[in-house]
Symmetry: C2
Subunit: 326 residues, 2 copies
């Protein structure tokens, strides 16, 4: 248990975050990032205040204009009086912390606006990884009263798919002149996009990208089948098409509320989060030392003295039960 | 336990695989792919016969010439009388089974050679995923007496890193004209390469790629620090440079044996494999149904009635201990 003074400090941070104070919100997200011991208390306190924010994922290859698009969306949403949080995650790289916010020069116009919160987050090495860290950070922002949470990720391989699992709706961003045909074809991006956005629509080749994308989307099997992902053309740098994009998002949320899709996605997200926490705790209970610990058994497997199944059996016998670790 | 007739059938398959019969080897790898109930018995039988094969990972972006390079390596190794297995894996896509062997026309010259075994393997959805399936398939090929096992993967995002964890040495393949500068810069490929190979070295821009790569490799922090990854130029389509590439591999294996690197990597691999099996079994023991099952608790979390930590605690209490599931 936390000491009373620590609990008081946490309560104060939570109170300040609820009034939208950026420093308090940032401190709470740092607790998420650092797997702080206060996390269970924090999440238990925040739980009743969550579920209101729309959580929007934005993904796309480097160079398509993600930061510019986020900035344009934020500008329009602020004019409508909405409070917006931007969370940038890079779950794919085990090596670098990522400079995802590096070129976020365009976001500086929002730096002094308390209705906008911008934060990058490292999730690698986190207990349970992105499946735990992203929902926790989203809950902090949700409880802090943001109407929208934009989760931005770099577009490499598996990371889009992982981020799509954490959000209510996924925007896939493309641009003309980024290589051979529609880059979305790789890595299953066609399957995860709820709305496709072609940025730099004033450039040569934009029409071809839109046309090709529409054809590919029409051919892609999707669940649920009742939503046909639209393809929206924008020029993020001057705001062209942003109003139309937000209208498509509204249309998505209305239909997803009626069909129960948003509720189903949120349930699946909660399920993965709980399961990840349980697995992380079970994993922590696996002994490494001793005659039947992981170190000794792995050595025996590497040397061909034992197979991995027999090693796993022995390790399970020496692992305390769930009830004793809880 | 297996019935006697099934055990007899498995023993017969293992016996035939040891003599190098491709159909028997293929059947054993299918057991791995399908998580067959015979797997623990199979792995226990094979364990003493493993640890001899050199396991070589080969990765690179689509279009750099992976298949052609594999074919050229196989041709030269066969001339030296070595038996070679090729295992193609695509761990990154949750959607398609992958057509990794689709353009393997060049491999057809080896189709009737019993000293060559070629197989693609799906690992998504496998109990424990690639961390379990790849070492198991490699053990089958190792026990079947292949001198080298080439593990080929498509070069997208996280998959190279995952495959690098399964092999003794990682070759990273590049080619000129594949986009902006050295494509390796993305996704941490520089950190995982033990030997860099520039294919299509007769084309314009190949010298620039080699030079740029050498500079980047020199600047990359690596573990262990005592091996400086060489950059080898080849023209896979006519076999140019393949002898030099194999010489660099020999040099790597000699140094890695002396420094203990190969032993350390094999131990880390065994450790991940055992841990993955343990976690998969613990996960299977988590209850989904009932008042304190995963379904009900995830619903409470999604609705904000409960936080994920409290849900995880309750789920752990209702999870049987390791000893009762083993």
């Amino acid at each position: 248990m936390s000491r009373p003074s620590e609990t008081g400090r946490l309560d104060q941070l939570i109170g300040e975050a609820r009034t939208g104070r950026p420093r308090a919100i940032g401190r709470l997200i740092s607790l998420v990032e650092n797997q702080a011991p206060e996390l269970p208390a924090l999440m238990a306190t925040l739980a009743p205040d969550t579920g209101r924010a729309r959580v929007i994922g934005l993904t796309g290859a480097p160079g398509v204009g993600k930061s510019t698009t986020v900035a344009a969306l934020v500008t329009e949403l602020r004019q409508r009086g909405q409070r917006v949080a931007v969370l940038a995650v890079d779950p794919s790289s085990p090596f670098s912390g990522g400079a995802l916010l590096g070129d976020r020069v365009r976001m500086q116009q929002h730096a002094l606006d308390d209705g906008v919160f911008i934060r990058s987050m490292a999730t690698r090495g986190h207990l349970g990884g992105l499946a735990v860290a992203a929902p926790q950070a989203i809950r902090v922002l949700d409880a802090a009263g943001f109407d929208l949470v934009l989760v931005e990720t770099v577009g490499v391989g598996q990371s889009e798919v992982e981020v799509a699992e954490q959000v209510d709706v996924t925007l896939v961003l493309l641009a003309p002149g980024m290589g051979d045909g529609v880059q979305a074809a790789k890595a299953g991006v066609l399957e995860i996009g709820d709305v496709f956005v072609v940025n730099k629509a004033d450039r040569d080749g934009a029409h071809a990208v839109v046309r090709e994308l529409r054809n590919m989307v029409a051919l892609t099997q999707r669940t649920p089948a009742d939503w046909k992902p639209p393809v929206v053309s924008i020029v993020a740098v001057d705001g062209t098409g942003i109003i139309e994009l937000l209208a498509e998002l509204d249309r998505f949320f209305a239909q997803a509320a009626a069909s129960g899709l948003t509720a189903r996605r949120r349930l699946a997200r909660a399920r993965r989060e709980v399961e990840s926490l349980v697995l992380a705790r079970l994993r922590a209970a696996v002994p490494t030392q001793g005659r039947d610990g992981l170190d000794a058994l792995a050595t025996a497997v590497a040397n061909g003295r034992l197979d991995a199944y027999t090693a796993a059996d022995r390790l399970l016998v020496s692992t305390p039960s769930g009830s004793t670790t809880a």
